[in-house]
């Protein structure tokens, strides 16, 4: 090789030695290495544990959850108390309505046939929801929440079962009232508007309560349901003073029924997505 090139290379190396030394980071000290290892240790442990223990699988003893099964088990849990109280209240309602003068027991004059139904049914529904929404005992709540179901779905099924039971009672009672009025022969009961009247407000209050329950908890759910109930009274007064036709009233009631149904459906999807129970009662 040419000696001048060698010299130039040697000179270049000499000139670059210092800047290169500054540019290259010094090797880590033993204490820095130790600190790095200590910082990484938790991750090493996790890797080690992963290698040692196989991952946990879904319990093979447990079957896929379904809302139908949940509803059935919740029904069997609460059936006695709900059937007894429901039957007592609705029997009272039937007896309170005079079949010869079904329009006389009205809160707002005689526009509401069998007017006690839309007043009592939502109240009964809310009371039943409050009573059965969760177990009173902390220990039972704890063991009931350790299930493979989304915890909120368990509460949803319980509430839905209560709503279905109460509405069934009201429906049976309505049929009985209708038959009694018909047998009395003094007047006729417009059955569909009558049904829609109590069903609309009942579903709306229940739907509103459920919708809020899975977002803001039971206290606010009751408050919102009560507000919907009071607003319904105002609306009834308005339609009465403005002499709305029965068809117009039925349309409004149908709208409330539909709105209640949609709110219930949205609550169902919400309960499936929630990782915790409503009201912050059971976590996570």
């Amino acid at each position: 090789m040419n000696p001048s090139i060698d010299r130039e290379l040697a000179q270049l190396e000499k000139e670059l030695a210092e800047p290169l030394r500054q540019a290259v980071l010094p090797p880590p000290s033993p204490s820095e290495t130790a600190a790095l290892i200590a910082a990484l240790q938790p991750d090493f442990d996790k890797l080690k544990a992963k290698a040692v223990s196989p991952s946990l699988d879904f319990n093979p003893q447990v079957e896929t959850p379904s809302l139908r099964r949940l509803l059935w088990s919740q029904f069997r849990l609460n059936r006695k108390s709900l059937i007894l109280t429901g039957s007592a209240v609705f029997l009272m309602l039937i007896l309170l309505i005079d079949p010869e003068r079904p329009y006389r027991i009205m809160l707002f004059g005689d526009t509401i046939p069998g007017g006690l139904f839309p007043i009592i049914t939502p109240l009964m529904l809310l009371a039943s929801m409050l009573f059965s929404y969760r177990s009173w005992d902390r220990g039972m709540r704890a063991i009931e929440s350790i299930t493979p179901y989304p915890p909120a779905l368990v509460v949803y099924s319980r509430m839905l079962m209560v709503i279905a039971l109460m509405l069934s009672w009201a429906l049976i009672s309505s049929v009985v009232v209708g038959l009694r009025v018909s047998w009395a022969g003094e007047t006729t009961l417009p059955f569909i508007p009558f049904l829609l009247e109590w069903l609309g407000i009942s579903m709306l209050t229940a739907g509103a309560a459920m919708y809020v329950l899975f977002r803001k908890g039971m206290s606010l759910a009751c408050a919102v349901a009560a507000a919907a109930y009071v607003l319904w009274f105002v609306l009834e007064e308005y339609t009465r003073t403005h002499e709305w036709t029965m068809n117009a009233n039925a349309a409004v009631d149908g709208g409330m029924l539909l709105a209640g149904g949609i709110l219930l459906l949205r609550s169902y999807y919400r309960s499936l997505r929630m990782s915790g129970g409503p009201d912050g009662g059971e976590r996570p």
Binding site: E63, G139, V154
Partner: protein, 286 residues
């Protein structure tokens, strides 16, 4: 294996703080004074609460990501529970089985048999003794044959025979699974327990095997007969227990050297080791 990392969770005036804890399969006793954090730790493990900080991994699964899966593998018995009193035993277990997604009636029958509950199968809960109710509470936790079993004072209200039966069952059940029981009386678990976790004011005071729990004690356990005068001079802090007898007072106490001539060295029990750790020691003779 359950791994707890950097757990911090408030519990009244204290905070549960666990830097790193590994709970291996087997039967683990969770001990500590009242308010030490045993129930809080069990509730965290049972996914009833999420830790304010830190992470719990159950064989690589976390509650945040795999809650339904984890809960399918968890059984829990709270310290206090009022089972639905109006329900009959079988009906209650069937209801709880359905909630857990277990629809095999044979499993309920097997547990009724294992916990000697068959005679009470059609009895209402309210008519049963507290010990039997506790057996039902234990049985419900086992309905899904879970991999993890968390028990808060599981033997409460049980009589001697019931306790023996329950311990024997849990000991067998813990083979290949993880069972953690918060207990106050340790000696009866002596043969069954594999590990001990001692919680002291929200922090881990000890974790390890039962042998190490006893072996690591700096003191020895002594027992024998002493005079009343010796007894009066003896520090009560070191006294594990004593019994008045006609010839004197029979004592079991802890101490470095032979505190009194009449005493002989005794094999330390789990309870002795707890006593030393929890309450410390004093000079034996005042």
């Amino acid at each position: 294996m359950i791994m707890l990392e950097n757990i911090r969770h408030p519990m009244g005036e204290l905070t549960l703080e666990i830097g790193k804890l590994r709970i291996p399969p087997g039967l683990t006793l969770l001990v500590g004074a009242n308010g030490a954090g045993k129930t809080t730790l069990l509730e965290l493990l049972a996914t009833l609460q999420l830790p304010r900080r830190g992470e719990i991994l159950y064989r690589q699964r976390s509650a945040a990501e795999d809650l339904p899966l984890l809960r399918s593998q968890i059984g829990y018995v709270p310290a206090e529970i009022e089972l639905y009193e109006e329900m009959k035993v079988y009906r209650l277990l069937a209801y709880l089985a359905e909630l857990k997604g277990v629809y095999h009636r044979e499993r309920i029958d097997a547990l009724l048999s294992d916990f000697r509950l068959i005679p009470y199968r059609n009895h209402k809960i309210k008519l049963l003794s507290l010990g039997i109710r506790r057996r039902i509470a234990l049985a419900q936790a086992l309905l899904a044959a879970p991999y993890f079993l968390f028990l808060d004072e599981p033997l409460n209200a049980m009589d001697t025979a019931e306790r023996k039966m329950a311990i024997s069952y849990l000991s067998r059940y813990a083979g290949g699974r993880t069972v953690i029981a918060a207990v106050h009386e340790m000696n009866e678990w002596d043969e069954a327990a594999d590990h001990v976790i001692w919680l002291n004011r929200g922090k881990i005071g000890f974790e390890g095997g039962t042998r190490r729990w006893n072996d690591e004690l700096p003191l020895e356990v002594w027992e024998g007969l002493i005079t009343r005068e010796q007894f009066e001079n003896c520090s009560q802090r070191n006294m594990i227990h004593f019994r008045e007898m006609a010839e004197g007072i029979y004592v079991r106490l802890i101490g470095g050297n032979r505190p009194f001539p009449g005493l002989t060295l005794a094999e330390p029990t789990l309870e002795d080791a707890y006593f030393v750790r929890q309450y410390g020691r004093d000079s034996v003779v005042r």
